[in-house]
Symmetry: C2
Subunit: 351 residues, 2 copies
DNA sequence: ATGAGGTGGGAAAGCGCATTCCCAATTCAT
DNA sequence: ATGAATTGGGAATGCGCTTTCCCACCTCAT
């Protein structure tokens, strides 16, 4: 890395580094047109590219924003990343990416790395975990984030607030009303569905999943329905598939003829729902004929899936954008929340 | 951003900054155990986080790798990004992300930004364009990349080499044998399919799509079939949908009863194929009953799509990983190529 | 006892840039 | 014509860190 420097440009142009700096980057003072032209000329022939590191050091502001996701290949996160990227570009920032597989320990590492890089703000997406085995790592994550904030960093949180973190102005959380929306979904489904409900959820302690389970149950209760069984599996396509296999067995065992027997399966995210659907199909069962199925998130890439999946639509890209802007702006703006909506499609229609 | 500095830590520990630096970061020289402990102690109480910018400036090496993709929300790119991220983590690097909508102009900007940040290497994914309106921007992109390389940067290219770029050791391209694989696919399909073929391609001039079209045509020719019609649309789901609508009309018009009349549609990527499928379904046509359909890429999230899509499997994540490693390693290793394979599924089976 | 060869901490010189001062040259009002 | 105000370029300092040198102090062999 032997790029040419500002002083080299200055020397070539026959001016001082100060002047070169002033013309090459937006300074309050603008050198004379002729001299400016000479500097620009020199910069061009030398192929000068300003060293952002040095600039950052000198003005202590890096133009970096850090993004933390569980898995960038997951459409849920890549949609959010898209929004973050768009906002970052608009605000003339670069995004630094870290994937953590959802473990608080790796999230903590990512925060530390971003802090070292002096990222101006970081947006962290992905469900929190309340599992006891993660407690220690969660505490450390919170400590790391607090330290980051104490040093002037700002963080945008997608979803639910992070536990154990100091109550400061530095955190902006874009709340996703998981519970509320799951409740709405349950109520809608309960209006037409006669049979029992069952929930295919992520591991217990995964906040997002837990909230959706809770909301769905309360929605059922509102509708005067008995609580649904909950199956806990991995929070991904394969987890859904596993659950689907088991449910298929259950469905077949109970001679699924009567509408009063037909199951309605709610998977706590779309990707799991797809897994469930694949498993049922695998077992010779059809949706919605043999069971209703609903998901959550309304992942764009799954819209062409058939039967079309009933789900809760979330403006994922918008969420990413909002989180980024919130983490970048100084003014409060209050706790931003985002709106979702129940989207009923074929997978939960009457057979 | 008022984080504590190394000298503050040093002062607190009662040692020189040099010593503090030596203990806090891996240096060749290791201070005495007791003094090291004191420094670590001080660093801890001050919540010291090394300033990576300053470190980068001092040792001129940033640990940054830049990733350029068309669209991070596209599963093709997010799969590659996943691989890049994994490799980067393994090599203790951070990844800087830029999305460009596939325009050479924005790609050039991204390269410049990465160069300014002194990224050690950059991996650039996504089809090149040979359209005349992009010629100028392509030249500029090549110039920018060359400049980056002249300054010591290294670049890993996914897919086809970048046009107009200097022939140096600095470029490593992970070749995707699009043409070869498309030819293989065509041959396979030609073995069983009796009717005419049609290709739903991206815009003319989009290299990836062009290569696949060319390969497919030559495969047909090998099999003694007439060349396929080519429909050019946007290289995404909606483009596929548009083409699908048109094709549905064509299919219906030609009373599609006989096997000799049945169309086999090859979309130059999976996402387009999904769009085609959606359009056909929309028009009351069924795959593979009324037409065969094949894609390219074997996107993971589309595997549960029905009818299962015949396609060409590409190890996307591996490609990202390879490109990253190639751009990071100094030794040549020769031009790496990646293996794909024809994957026939239900969407092209006989009705 | 004495000089050679080690050891290990500190001083200082950058890395590439922004920016505050400082000062010479102009301009303007009176 | 003259002093004040303004303009615009340059010298110098510092951002936070690494890394060479340098040197005081020790250890050891002779």
């Amino acid at each position: 890395m032997t790029a040419s420097t500002l002083s080299e440009v200055a020397k070539l142009a026959g001016v001082s580094p100060a002047t070169a700096s002033r013309v090459l980057n937006g300074s309050a003072r603008t050198p004379a047109p002729d001299i400016a032209e000479r500097v620009r000329q020199a910069a061009d022939t030398l192929g000068y590219i300003a060293n952002a590191q040095a600039q950052a050091l000198a003005k202590s502001s890096t133009g970096l924003i850090g993004l933390i996701v569980h898995d960038i290949a997951d459409p849920y996160f890549s949609a959010i990343a898209q929004g973050v990227q768009a906002a970052a570009r608009q605000e003339r920032r670069m995004v630094l990416l870290a994937t953590t597989n959802g473990t608080p320990a790796e999230e903590k590492d990512a925060v530390a790395a971003f802090a070292a890089r002096r990222a101006e703000s970081i947006v962290i997406a992905g469900s929190r975990s309340t599992r006891s085995e993660d407690a220690r790592a969660n505490t450390e994550l919170a400590a790391e984030l607090d330290r980051y904030c104490r040093n002037g960093g700002r963080v945008g949180v997608v979803g639910q607030a992070i536990l154990g973190v100091a109550e400061t102005e530095s955190y902006r959380t874009i709340a996703v009303p998981n519970e509320q929306l799951a409740r709405d979904l349950a109520r809608e489904l309960a209006r037409t569905h006669k049979g029992p409900f069952v929930i295919v959820a992520g591991p217990e302690g995964l906040t997002t999943s837990d909230e959706r389970v809770k909301g769905f149950q309360s929605g059922l209760s509102d509708a005067g329905k008995p609580a649904a069984d909950v199956v806990h599996v991995a929070f991904n396509r394969n987890g859904g598939f596993d659950a689907g296999i088991e449910l298929a067995w259950r469905i077949k065992a109970s001679g699924q003829s009567a509408p009063e027997q037909r199951l309605c399966i709610f998977a706590t995210n779309d990707v799991m729902a797809i897994g469930v659907a694949a498993a049922l199909r695998d077992q010779g069962l059809r949706v919605p004929h043999d069971a209703s199925l609903a998901g959550f998130d309304d992942i764009e890439w799954l819209r062409d899936f058939r039967p079309a999946l009933s789900t809760v639509s979330l403006p994922l890209e918008e969420i990413g954008r909002l989180a980024t802007m919130a983490a970048l702006s100084n003014d409060d703006g209050g706790p931003a929340a985002v709106a979702g909506s129940v989207t009923l499609r074929r997978s939960t229609s009457s057979p």
